[in-house]
């Protein structure tokens, strides 16, 4: 059964197309990753799923209801964790959760029980009476997630929930989401951190410039990239663009990406061409600080599909 199904979902801001006729579905019980760089259209997509903004064209069916005609029914069935920490800093965590719970329609004992449950899930029950402004960034993020869980949603949408979070809190958040998913919750997770998506998601859609450019599980996507290796050279001095021509003359080289003091080469035979590329760099007077050969990953896939990195 599909929890989400989009039909040519499109959003224009003026003449600028933010989301361009996207079509995909999310099965019940899976963690679906929407991966893409900043400005790819991820937040616009989840904003349409959350009924915060209306699509210019197309529709999406969430938990059996159209976001166009049955937005209130959709809102009752989803939990949304926005990119910003959308909490009231001068209220305590408990006061925040009580207020947001009331907005979901919980009152009295039901509300109290639900607040206690979500505080347990995010492991912040002992800090429930502290003001949010006294929380660390990671703790705020966890309460932000707790609000999304208040309504016991069928679908939990998280829009880059780990931005600005320390590594320990990030692991805590990802583990919490894994646990929630193992109890049957469907999750839509957007991020530009490919490691998070690789760790968490069963199905992944890669977005760029408002379009879904790749879709499938991790293995399917790896096949898409063609098992290419990525050689990363870190250099002491700056690399000039004209070196691209010389390196591209090597037959096995697929794609070259030049940064100020690093060079990425995409190839099917990383170890074979490594000495040749190193020699060219040496001849050009570029001193290499370190070399790394990376096996195919989503980052590599994104690079091969778009010619740019996820963090650009």
């Amino acid at each position: 059964m599909n929890v989400v199904e989009t039909k040519n979902l499109t959003k224009f801001y003026g003449k600028e197309c933010a989301v361009d006729k996207i079509n995909f579905s999310i099965n019940k019980g899976e963690i679906f990753g929407l991966l893409g760089p900043n400005g790819a259209g991820k937040t616009t997509t989840v904003s349409m799923f959350s009924c915060l903004i209306k699509p210019t064209d197309g529709d999406a069916i969430i938990c059996g209801y159209s976001i166009l005609s049955k937005s209130l029914d959709v809102k009752k069935r989803i939990g949304v964790v926005p990119q910003d920490v959308a909490l009231y800093p001068t209220l305590t965590a408990k006061e925040n959760l009580i207020f947001w719970g009331q907005m979901y329609g919980f009152y009295g004992k039901n509300l109290k029980n639900r607040v206690d449950e979500v505080l347990e899930i995010v492991s912040l029950k002992d800090r429930q009476n502290d003001l949010i402004k006294k929380y660390s960034g990671g703790m705020k993020r966890r309460i932000n997630i707790a609000v999304g869980l208040l309504a016991s949603p069928e679908l939990l949408i998280l829009d880059e929930p780990t931005v600005g979070v320390d590594p320990q809190s990030r692991i805590n958040i990802l583990e919490t989401l894994k646990n929630l998913n193992s109890s049957g919750l469907t999750i839509l997770y957007t991020s530009h951190y490919m490691e998070e998506v690789e760790f968490l998601c069963n199905t992944i859609a890669i977005m760029d410039l408002g379009k879904i450019i790749a879709f499938g599980n991790l293995n399917e996507l790896r096949i898409l990239v063609g098992e290419k290796d990525k050689i990363i050279f870190s250099t002491i001095n700056d690399i000039k663009e004209d070196i691209k021509i010389k390196i591209s003359k090597i037959q096995e080289v697929d794609k070259i990406n030049i940064f100020e003091k690093s060079l990425e080469v995409l190839t099917l035979q990383g170890r074979k061409i490594l000495p040749e590329v190193t020699k060219i760099l040496w001849d050009e007077g570029i001193r290499v600080k370190s070399v790394e050969i990376k096996e195919p990953d989503l980052e590599t896939l994104f690079l091969s599909l778009t010619g740019k990195t996820l963090r650009e």
């Binding site: 209130l72 809102k75 959308a86 009231y88 907005m103 979901y104 329609g105 609000v147």
Partner: protein, 408 residues
């Protein structure tokens, strides 16, 4: 509907924990009321200042006794004249030169006899050169007294001579009759007085500066409080909590109405606190009509909440609401009579002020406070405020909706 009230209550709770908001919307008006009330009291009352007056009475006979006991110590004058009695002219001069007293009065020996017998005599007034206004006030009082004594003396002399000549009274009865006439005059005087009344003939309080500024500042700061409330709309949008509310199962209209209810609650709470604090700590009278006061408070709070919604609909950020809103609040406060008494306004400014909600709110409260008005008397004021409320809300909400449509 329940969610609407919960949003409003949440906003009130957040503002109650905001120290800056507390200073801006509660502490500031209370300080201003206190300071302006004290400083400008002389402008409003018949008690401009206290005049410390030293008297050397060398006469100690009946006319000087009347001057001191019946005039200078009278109920009215004793409110602003503090009398001190000295025995020696030199001591008086020395005290005046040291600034101990503002005015000195010297009544010469045989002053009464000289006046009665028509001889020349003068009461001397010594003035502290730095307090000439005060000596001027005392001189006017003494001039009036002396003139009155002379008029009565002349009238008595003519009347008694005529009556004796016409054999209507006897010379030996004259002293008894003068005593009777004096008593008759005192009886009539006790029935004649000065009373400040309203147009219905009811006694009123007169204008007291503390009361004036409690109303003036209270009304002006309603808009500051309402602006603090509308700032929270922008603040919530900036921090993403408004968007989070929008993805909850609540109608968009309920969210906005909840925010407006929050503004109303904040403004109402602020005004009630100002009324209570000024009443119990500053001794401000808020009139005798509790029902009238409730009507004025609610209609004023509604009107200023509506005005702040109108402002907010025209602004783009909370900082704009803060800065431009404060400026407009000050201008409306000035034009509407919150800062300066309306009765000092030139005609053109008086006309302009009638287009501000401040003016109608202030006039309504003054009706209750200074003219002992009741709920019926403030119907025109509250009606105009409600009419303005409807206009402000209608325009503000329309602009907000248009903006929302454009952004979605």
């Amino acid at each position: 509907m329940k969610k609407l009230f919960l949003i409003g209550l949440k906003d009130l709770k957040i503002r109650s924990r905001d120290f800056n908001a507390f200073i801006m919307i509660l502490l500031m008006p209370l300080i201003l009321i206190f300071v302006l009330g004290l400083v400008f009291q002389p402008l409003y009352s018949s008690k401009p200042f206290i005049i410390d007056t030293a008297v050397v009475n060398l006469d100690n006979y009946y006319i000087s006794d009347i001057l001191i006991n019946d005039v200078l110590k009278s109920e009215e004058l004793s409110k602003f004249i503090n009398l001190f009695f000295l025995n020696d002219e030199n001591e008086l001069k020395d005290s005046i030169s040291k600034g101990k007293y503002a005015v000195g009065i010297i009544i010469n020996e045989n002053f009464t006899k000289n006046i009665v017998s028509g001889k020349e005599d003068k009461i001397l007034i010594l003035a502290d050169p730095e307090q000439t206004t005060k000596s001027g006030v005392i001189k006017n009082i003494l001039d009036t007294f002396v003139l009155e004594v002379l008029k009565r003396s002349v009238a008595l002399d003519i009347t008694s001579k005529t009556l004796i000549k016409e054999n209507l009274i006897k010379q030996e009865d004259l002293n008894t009759l003068i005593y009777q006439w004096s008593n008759d005059i005192e009886n009539i005087k006790s029935k004649i007085g000065v009373k400040l009344v309203n147009e219905k003939g009811e006694e009123t309080r007169g204008i007291v500066a503390m009361d004036y500024y409690a109303v003036g500042m209270g009304v002006m700061y309603l808009l500051f409080a309402a602006n603090a409330g509308t700032e929270s709309i922008f603040e919530e949008k900036r921090k993403g909590t408004y968007q989070r509310l929008s993805i909850m199962p609540i109608k968009e209209s309920s969210i906005f109405s909840g925010k407006v209810f929050g503004i109303f609650l904040l403004t109402l709470t602020q005004f009630i606190l100002i009324i209570l604090i000024t009443k119990f700590f500053y001794g401000v009278s808020w009139g005798n009509s509790f029902f009238g006061l409730i009507i004025m408070v609610i209609s004023s709070v509604l009107c200023f909440s509506g005005l702040s919604i109108l402002f907010a609909s025209l602004m783009k950020s909370e900082s704009q609401v803060g800065s431009i809103g404060s400026t407009i609040s000050m201008i409306l406060g000035f034009v509407g009579g919150s800062m300066w008494p309306i009765f000092t306004f030139p005609k053109w400014l008086n006309t302009i002020s009638k287009f501000t909600p401040n003016r109608w709110a202030i006039d309504g409260f003054f009706k209750l406070i200074f003219e002992s008005g009741n709920a019926k008397d403030i119907i025109p004021h509250s009606s105009i405020l409600i009419l303005m409320t409807i206009i402000f809300y209608s325009i503000g909400l329309t602009i907000f909706r248009l903006k929302e449509k454009r952004s979605v």
